[in-house]
Subunit: 142 residues, 2 copies
Amino acid sequence: MSGAPFVLDSTLAADGHFVGDLPLSTVLLMDDARFPWLIVVPRVAGMRDLIDLRRAQRQALLDEVDACAYALRALHAPLKLNVAALGNVVAQLHVHVIARHAGDAAWPKPVWGVGDREHYASVALTAEVARLRVALGLANAQ
Amino acid sequence: MSGAPFVLDSTLAADGHFVGDLPLSTVLLMDDARFPWLIVVPRVAGMRDLIDLRRAQRQALLDEVDACAYALRALHAPLKLNVAALGNVVAQLHVHVIARHAGDAAWPKPVWGVGDREHYASVALTAEVARLRVALGLANAQ
């Protein structure tokens, strides 16, 4: 890969709201109020698949994915967590962490491509990001 | 969780062909010839989400998921690897590792729920399992 600096993919940036930066990854809240849905993007340029990361980076990413899963479990008590690195549409390596409930808008199917997105209302968005920042230990940062 | 021993979920067992046992996980080849598709099932009873595993087990699982990804990349040269722990239908913790190509039967959508499965022909199945066992370093085991 080139020595170009990391730049967050424009589609991810457009689809998500910034929650915070963990040591390796930027955490976004997907702008779809139907599902508590985080996107974890390691700030490493040129990465496409998990196995493109160096081993130490992979382990760091997984620790951060785990932290997001714990945060969603604490805030939303999901029946199931979905964790997935797909990237067929957006090539930049990113990991979805989604809290699923029986009866949610896609259950039991995966969430991708199901129905129409529901944008967060401004107040709900601000509150959710604030709760996520606390749950992720980011509340006093920035 | 109870002290019950690990038993492979019956749906996973029915949907997949046994490839081999890695130290922590059983590797299955999904019986769908449209996609090179492995399912990695840690042999730990009562697990549902990745964060249910102890940290050392999580790291071991991820190393084995990586090994499956490398094997699929070596054998199938995918454009993209899809790695996902969903489990909305089958609760037992399992990780999908799928080699994706532009123009495959679901591209660029996720594979779940798309179209009808194509069962492997017997000869193709035997050959694929044998190649996977070599790629996973299991060729001389059992």
